[in-house]
């Protein structure tokens, strides 16, 4: 199992075991992680699954595709380490990944 840590805007960390092949968003939702809304269910159509990736991990994730970049335009307080969690697929190499959820989704 791949271990993922979600830190909320107040700084509380929650570590969960993620299933390989699921998305980071699905992992959050299945584990009732607060701060991820995922209104569109992972179709890259709502930008309410926005997370900040720990800078140490930024370059270890596959780069976002155009569709994800376009949808990030609809998120707020977008930073260089912003990603949409529904577009990140869990695999063994991501063991230990840490992401922070923003203060507010859209």
């Amino acid at each position: 199992m791949t271990q993922i840590t979600f830190i909320d805007a107040q700084g509380t960390a929650r570590s969960v075991a993620a299933e390989d092949g699921a998305t980071l968003m699905e992992t959050a939702v299945r584990n009732a992680i607060p701060g991820i809304e995922a209104e569109c269910g992972g179709a890259c159509a709502c930008a309410t699954c926005h997370v900040y990736v720990d800078p140490a991990w930024q370059d270890r994730l596959p780069a976002p595709q155009t569709m994800e970049e376009d949808m990030l335009d609809f998120a707020f307080d977008v930073r260089p380490n912003s990603r949409l969690s529904c577009q990140i697929r869990i695999k063994a190499e991501l063991d230990g990944l840490t992401v922070t959820t923003p203060e507010r989704q859209a």
Partner: protein, 345 residues
């Protein structure tokens, strides 16, 4: 005074479920008017995922959101529904009785309808502009912060900060630039989703010094009594600067809000409208709710469920519209009268 539009069935929401209801009602000789706040037909399918594939429409191994809407439009063409787009239904009041219901419906564009039955196919609610989560932005809304341009004159000789990278942001940048004192376009990155020719036009205006382009994001607003004086922005290089402006137009796409439906005297449960599963009627006889907006035990927010709901609701609508007529169950495959209605016999 605008003229009252009389109709047998009024459908609120032109998403896939509202559209298919036109078909089921049409087979029963019931004519429809549809209203949607969006300027286009198709609800979530057309607005949120026009290019994405749907795999669970029976009989279609795969169809895109827009493809499904185009097909539905073709399917309901024989029934000639009338669309009233770009307007939000504001009020719905009963002016009839339980036996002979009649409703008065008004929109924010001033249209007035008198309908024997109302089908609410409002999905997740009206599509409305997303508000940026900037502290205190509410105080400026409608005074110096706008999410749409209703009157261009409001923007004459103003310093306008437009935020976004899509077609709305670029179109308004180009339209307002000639009459504004100055237009400043701000976007978080130097790539734009908008149509390439608008982007080119914008870039040449910037090159000619006729407008400004800033890469960054609005973090805070400064002003008094709703009058904007400056926006504090975080630029792409992480520096924070104040940009003087007296109008702000943020374009961050649309989100769904229940809206005025909450004020129509209907029972609501967690922003959904409870219905029975025989007729999909609400607590008010003559008002039905179908598609994503309704709630009942076992409800699935799927397009196919909404289609079924519309078919069953239509049967009861028929009883209100034609109380004296008996309803025969018929197949489109074999009934010559249904085929005549469809224009294929």
């Amino acid at each position: 005074m605008t003229e009252t539009i009389k109709t047998d069935a009024l459908i609120i929401g032109a998403g896939p479920v509202g559209l298919f209801a036109v078909f089921e009602l049409g087979l029963l000789d019931i004519k429809c008017h549809l209203i949607d706040i969006l300027p286009k037909i198709g609800g979530q399918c057309a607005e949120l995922y026009p290019e994405k594939p749907i795999y669970d429409i029976p009989g279609f191994p795969v169809v895109t959101g827009q493809g499904l809407i185009d097909n539905l439009m073709k399917q309901i063409e024989p029934f000639g529904p009338t669309f009233h787009l770009g307007q939000m239904v504001e009020s719905l009041e009963s002016i009839g009785s339980a036996q002979a219901p009649l409703f008065r419906v008004t929109t924010d564009a001033g249209a007035v309808f008198e309908a024997k039955t109302v089908l609410i196919a409002a999905g997740g609610g009206s599509f409305q502009p997303k508000k940026p989560p900037i502290a205190g932005i509410d105080d400026y809304e409608g005074k110096s912060v706008f999410y749409a341009v209703r009157k261009m004159e409001e923007f004459r000789d103003r310093t306008i900060l437009i935020v976004g990278g899509g077609d709305s942001a670029l179109d308004w940048t180009l339209n307002l630039q000639p009459i504004a004192k100055r237009v400043i376009l701000m976007h978080r990155r130097d790539e734009f989703r908008a149509a390439p020719h608008s982007v080119d036009q914008m870039r040449s205006l910037v090159a000619d010094g006729k407008m400004d382009l800033i890469l960054g994001q609005v973090m805070a607003l400064k002003g008094e009594h709703g009058q904007l004086e400056a926006a504090t922005i975080r630029a792409a290089d992480n520096t924070t600067i104040d940009v003087a402006c007296d109008r702000l137009l943020p374009f961050f796409g649309l989100t769904m809000k229940l809206g005025p439906i909450a004020d129509w005297g209907l029972n609501l449960a967690e922003n959904l409208i409870p219905v029975d599963t025989e007729k999909f009627e609400t607590n008010v006889p003559g008002i039905f709710a179908i598609g994503d907006i309704n709630a009942y035990p076992g409800k699935l927010k799927l397009i196919l469920s909404g289609f079924h709901e519309g078919a069953l609701a239509a049967q009861k609508v028929h009883r209100y519209v034609y109380p004296e007529k008996r309803l025969l169950f018929q197949y489109t495959t074999s009934s010559s009268s249904l085929q005549k209605k469809l224009g294929v016999a």
